[in-house]
C-alpha cells in the first residue's frame, strides 16, 4: 500500500506519454504513419489518418487503402464504395479490381449477368473509350490530310469514313455507358427497398450493403432507386453514397 503513491505519478506519466505518442501519430499524416496503424489492425484510426492525408483531395492509392481498412472492419459497403472511387481514378490497377472482386465474392455480392451490349462496353475503361473517340477523329483527320493532293477514291474514303464513324460511335456509347456506372451509388448499410418513401412503407425486399443502385429522384429523406436486379423502390438517403463524391 505504501508503494502505490510512488507508482501513481509514474503511471500517469506513462499514460500521458502514450497518449501524446498516439496523438502525435494520429496527427502525423504521412502515409507511413497511416499504414503503421493499418498494420497494427487499428483500422478505424487508419481510416481517419488516410482521410486526413487526403485533405479533401483524392488519390487512388489512399482511397484503395481506405477501402482495404473498411474491408478489414467487415464493412463491405464502404469498402466497395472506396474501391470503386479508387478505380475511377486508376482503372487499370489490378490490386484495386482484385480486392473489389474478393470483397464482393466473400459477401455474395454477385450482380446479375449484364446484357451482351453492356458486356462489350465493359471491355474498355471510361478513359479508354474516351481516347478511342479522339483516336478515331485523329485517324480520319490524318487520312483526310494525306488525301488532299490525291485523286478521289470513293471506295477507300467511304471505308475509312465508315470505320472512323463506327469507332467514334462505339467510343461515345462506351464512354456514356461507363460514365453512367460512375453515377451509381453504393449501399453502405444493409437496408430495405420500400414501396413508398415513408418509414412505415411496405418492404419490397432487402438490399445488401455493397450493392449498386441508380438514384432517380428524391423525396424527403428518401431516394427512388433502381438496384442491379432491376428492382425499383425507395431507399433512405443515409444508407447509400454516390461513387463520385
Amino acid at each position: 500500500m505504501k508503494k502505490r503513491p510512488c507508482l501513481m505519478p509514474v503511471f500517469l506519466i506513462l499514460l500521458t506519454c502514450s497518449h501524446a505518442m498516439a496523438d502525435g501519430r494520429l496527427q502525423d499524416t504521412s502515409i507511413d504513419a497511416c499504414n503503421a496503424l493499418y498494420h497494427e489492425n487499428n483500422f478505424e484510426d487508419a481510416i481517419g489518418c488516410y482521410q486526413r492525408l487526403s485533405n479533401s483531395e483524392h488519390s487512388a492509392n489512399v482511397l484503395y487503402n481506405i477501402a482495404n481498412s473498411y474491408a478489414q472492419l467487415d464493412q463491405p459497403g464502404y469498402s466497395v464504395l472506396y474501391y470503386l472511387r479508387a478505380l475511377s481514378l486508376n482503372p487499370g490497377d489490378s490490386d484495386i479490381s482484385g480486392n473489389l472482386a474478393m470483397v464482393k465474392d466473400e459477401k455474395g455480392l454477385f450482380p446479375p449477368e449484364k446484357p451482351a451490349i453492356l458486356r462489350f462496353f465493359s471491355l474498355l475503361t471510361l478513359a479508354q473509350w474516351s481516347i478511342l473517340c479522339l483516336l478515331s477523329a485523329a485517324g480520319y483527320l490524318v487520312f483526310a490530310c494525306t488525301r488532299l493532293s490525291r485523286p478521289k477514291n470513293m471506295v477507300l474514303e467511304t471505308f475509312v469514313l465508315l470505320l472512323c464513324t463506327i469507332l467514334l460511335a462505339a467510343g461515345v456509347f462506351g464512354a456514356g455507358t461507363r460514365y453512367r456506372e460512375w453515377q451509381q451509388a453504393v449501399v453502405v448499410k444493409d437496408s430495405r427497398l420500400l414501396v413508398s418513401p415513408f418509414e412505415n412503407g411496405a418492404s419490397l425486399g432487402s438490399i445488401d450493403q455493397g450493392s449498386l443502385v441508380s438514384p432517380h429522384k428524391e423525396h424527403g429523406d428518401y431516394w427512388y432507386v433502381t438496384d442491379e436486379r432491376g428492382r425499383k423502390g425507395w431507399l433512405k438517403a443515409e444508407t447509400f453514397e454516390s461513387i463520385l463524391p
Binding site: A36, S59, G108, L126, A137, I166, A202
Partner: protein
C-alpha cells in the same frame, strides 16, 4: 448512279448504325408482355387462404419475385398456360397461382410483384386485401330464411350430380401433402354446363390449383350412367385438429321450360304434343351447387421428439444425390456442389442440404430448381447448386451433405447423409506472415501481403506504400481540360480539312468557276501592272504592255498567249480598239517602221487602262 451511291453510302451507313443503336430498345419493348395479378377473394380469413393469380400475357417463361409482406405467406401452387387463336391472331399467357395465407387479421397491401422475362422486368399493381379473424359467412337469418328466389342456387338431387372426394389418407401431419382424387359425377340423362372448378370447403386445408382439363370417363353407378370428371390434386393440412372437408362446384343444369305454348289454329290436338314439345321446346339454365359428402380429416403436429437440428419442414420420402465439379482445384477456386433431392413430399418446404462440417470451406447461398415428375414414374426433383470455396489446402474431401425430413409412413424423422467427395487441392494456402512495418523504398509501391487469419479479409492485396498523385475532383477523362482542348482542336482541324476538300471537290467539278476566278485575278494583276509601265522607255513599255494584255486575252479567249497575233486581236476587237492599236504599234516598233510619240503613248495607255476591266 454509282457515284451517287458511293457519295451517300457513308451517310446511310451512319444512319443505319445509329438507328440500330437507338431503336434496338424500342424493338425489344415491342416484345414486352403484360402482367396482371388478381387476388380472389380480396377479403378472406386467417383460416381460409385466398388465391393469387399472376397472369403474364405474351410470354411463357418468366421469373417471379414475390415481395415480402409481414403477416402474409405465399404458397406457390403451380402454373398453367393458355394459348388461343382468334381471327388468325394468336395469343398466349401463363398464369402462376399462389395461395395467400394470413397469419394475423388486418388490412394488407401486397406490393407490386416483379416479373422478369428475357426482355424486360415488369411489375404488377399493388393489391389491397382485408383479412378477418373468422371466415366470411352469411348471417344465420339470411341463410335460413331467405326465400328461394327465381334463379337461386338449388341443391341438386344427389343422384343427378355429386362429387366424390377421395384423399389418400384421412390422417396427416401439418404440412404433409395428401394426394387426393376428386371425381365429379354427372348423370348423362341431364345436360350440364360447368361454370367453375370445384372448390375446397374446409378450414385448415389448402388445395393445389385444379387443371382446366380434367380426365373424363363414363361410369355406371346404381344402374345409372354418369359422366365422371377426374382431377388429381394435393391437399395440405396447415392447422392441427379434426376438420370436416368437402367440395363444391357451380354448374348449371339445362332444364326444359314447362311453358304452355299456344296451339296453332287449325291443328288442334291431333298432333303428337310430346314430339312438338321436344322439337320446339326451350331449355333454361338452372344453377346448382354440386357438393361432396364431408370427410372428417385429422391433422396432427410433427413430433418434437427426435427432431434433428437440420430439419427445415420437409415431409415425405426423399433421396439425396450429391456431386461436385470440379474436384481438382487450386486454393480459392470455386467448386459447384450439386445436391439433388428426389421423391414425394412438400418440395415447397424443402431447403438445401447442409454440409456436416464447413471448417476451411466458404459456402454461398445455393440456387434451387424444381423439376416436377411425370406419369412415367419419374419423381419430383429439386436440385440445389451451391458454390463452395476451399480456403484450406489441407482439406481433401467435401464433407457429407445432411438433409433431414419427416417420413409420415414411418412416422419418424429421417436424416440422409451423402458420401464425402474426394477433392484435390493443388498448392498450399498463403503462408501467414508476420505483420511488419512497411519499408518504403523508391520504386516500391506495395508490400508483401499480411495474412492475419483473424481478419475478415486475410487475402486482400496489401495497402499502397505511396500516396500517389492527388486530384481535387474525381473527373472522367472526357471532362478534363486537356481532353476537351484536344477534342476541340481535332474537331476544328477535321472541319477545316473537310471544308477544304469539299471546296476542292466542288471546284474540280466546276472548272468554269476556276477559270473565271483566274481571269479576275489576271485582270487585276494586269491593271496593277499597267499602272507601273509608264516609267519604262518606249520599247520596254510596248513589250510589257503587249505581254500583259496578251496574257489577259489568252485567259479570256481560252487559248495560248503566244498564239495571239495582231490579226486575231483586230478580228476580235476591231481595228480601232486601243488594244489593237497597241499590238499594231508593237509590230511597227519591232520592225522599226515608226516610233510612238509620248503624247500618243499616254493617250493609248489611258484608253487601255480604262477598258482593261471590261475586256471580254
Amino acid at each position: 448512279m454509282m457515284r451517287f451511291f458511293f457519295k451517300t453510302l457513308p451517310l446511310y451507313s451512319l444512319i443505319s448504325i445509329l438507328s440500330l443503336l437507338l431503336f434496338q430498345p424500342t424493338a425489344l419493348r415491342a416484345e414486352e408482355s403484360t402482367v396482371s395479378a388478381v387476388l380472389t377473394p380480396e377479403t378472406f380469413s386467417t383460416q381460409q387462404p385466398s388465391r393469387l393469380a399472376i397472369t403474364i400475357a405474351g410470354r411463357q417463361d418468366a421469373q417471379i419475385t414475390m415481395p415480402e409482406v409481414e403477416g402474409l405467406i405465399f404458397h406457390r401452387r403451380g402454373q398453367s398456360s393458355q394459348f388461343q387463336m382468334i381471327n388468325g391472331t394468336s395469343s398466349s399467357s401463363v398464369t402462376y397461382t399462389y395461395l395467400v395465407q394470413a397469419t394475423e387479421p388486418g388490412t394488407y397491401t401486397i406490393p407490386p410483384i416483379t416479373v422478369s422475362t428475357k426482355s424486360a422486368t415488369q411489375r404488377t399493381q399493388p393489391i389491397s386485401c382485408t383479412v378477418t379473424d373468422t371466415p366470411p359467412t352469411l348471417p344465420q337469418n339470411q341463410r335460413s330464411q331467405a326465400p328461394p328466389a327465381s334463379g337461386a342456387v338449388a341443391e341438386p338431387d344427389e343422384a343427378v350430380a355429386f362429387i366424390s372426394l377421395i384423399p389418400e389418407k384421412e390422417r396427416s401431419y401439418v404440412g404433409e401433402l395428401i394426394p387426393t382424387t376428386i371425381k365429379a359425377y354427372f348423370y348423362q340423362g341431364v345436360k350440364f354446363k360447368f361454370n367453375a372448378l370445384p372448390v375446397l370447403k374446409g378450414d385448415g386445408f389448402l388445395m393445389d390449383a385444379l387443371g382446366n382439363e380434367p380426365r373424363q370417363h363414363q361410369e355406371s353407378r346404381d344402374g345409372k350412367q354418369y359422366l365422371v370428371l377426374v382431377w388429381d390434386t394435393v391437399l395440405t393440412g396447415i392447422k392441427e385438429g379434426q376438420t370436416e372437408v368437402t367440395m363444391e362446384m357451380d354448374v348449371s343444369m339445362l332444364v326444359r321450360s314447362r311453358q304452355q305454348k299456344p296451339r296453332l289454329p287449325g291443328f288442334g290436338g291431333g298432333l303428337q304434343d310430346d314430339f312438338f314439345d321436344d322439337f320446339f321446346g326451350t331449355y333454361e339454365n338452372q344453377p346448382i351447387k354440386v357438393t361432396a359428402s364431408p370427410i372428417s380429416m385429422k391433422v396432427i403436429g410433427l413430433p418434437e421428439e427426435g427432431r434433428p437440428d437440420s430439419f427445415s419442414g420437409a415431409i415425405g420420402t426423399f433421396h439425396l444425390a450429391v456431386e461436385a465439379q470440379p474436384t481438382a482445384i487450386a486454393p480459392g477456386d470455386p467448386v459447384t456442389l450439386t445436391m439433388s433431392l428426389s421423391g414425394n413430399g412438400n418440395f415447397d418446404n424443402v431447403s438445401a442440404p447442409l454440409l456436416s462440417d464447413t471448417e476451411g470451406i466458404k459456402t454461398y447461398t445455393p440456387n434451387s430448381s424444381f423439376y416436377p415428375g411425370n406419369q412415367e414414374g419419374e419423381k419430383d426433383r429439386k436440385v440445389f447448386e451451391q458454390a463452395l470455396v476451399i480456403t484450406d489446402a489441407k482439406i481433401q474431401q467435401i464433407p457429407p451433405a445432411v438433409f433431414s425430413y419427416f417420413d409420415p409412413l414411418r412416422e419418424q424423422y429421417q436424416t440422409l447423409f451423402s458420401d464425402p467427395i474426394q477433392i484435390q487441392v493443388s498448392g498450399t494456402t498463403p503462408a501467414a506472415s508476420q505483420t511488419t512495418t512497411p519499408n518504403t523504398s523508391p520504386g516500391q509501391d506495395r508490400e508483401t501481403p499480411p495474412s492475419d487469419p483473424g481478419l475478415p479479409f486475410a487475402g486482400l492485396a496489401p495497402v499502397k506504400l505511396t500516396a500517389g498523385q492527388f486530384t481535387s475532383t474525381i473527373r472522367p477523362l472526357f471532362k478534363k481540360p486537356l481532353f476537351l482542348f484536344t477534342a476541340a482542336l481535332l474537331l476544328v482541324a477535321t472541319a477545316g480539312v473537310t471544308g477544304y476538300r469539299v471546296r476542292s471537290h466542288f471546284l474540280a467539278r466546276n472548272p468554269e468557276i476556276v477559270r473565271l476566278k483566274r481571269i479576275e485575278r489576271q485582270r487585276a494583276s494586269c491593271i496593277r501592272s499597267f499602272g507601273d509601265l509608264t516609267s519604262l522607255d518606249q520599247a520596254a513599255y510596248l513589250s510589257s504592255a503587249q505581254q500583259q494584255t496578251r496574257n489577259l486575252l489568252a485567259l479570256l479567249w481560252g487559248c495560248e498567249a503566244a498564239s495571239i497575233t495582231t490579226a486575231d486581236v483586230k478580228n476580235r476587237l476591231g481595228g480601232d480598239h486601243p488594244v489593237t492599236r497597241l499590238f499594231i504599234h508593237c509590230d511597227n516598233a519591232s520592225y522599226g517602221a515608226s516610233e510612238l510619240k509620248e503624247a500618243e503613248r499616254d493617250r493609248l495607255h489611258k484608253e487601255i487602262s480604262e477598258i482593261l476591266g471590261e475586256l471580254t
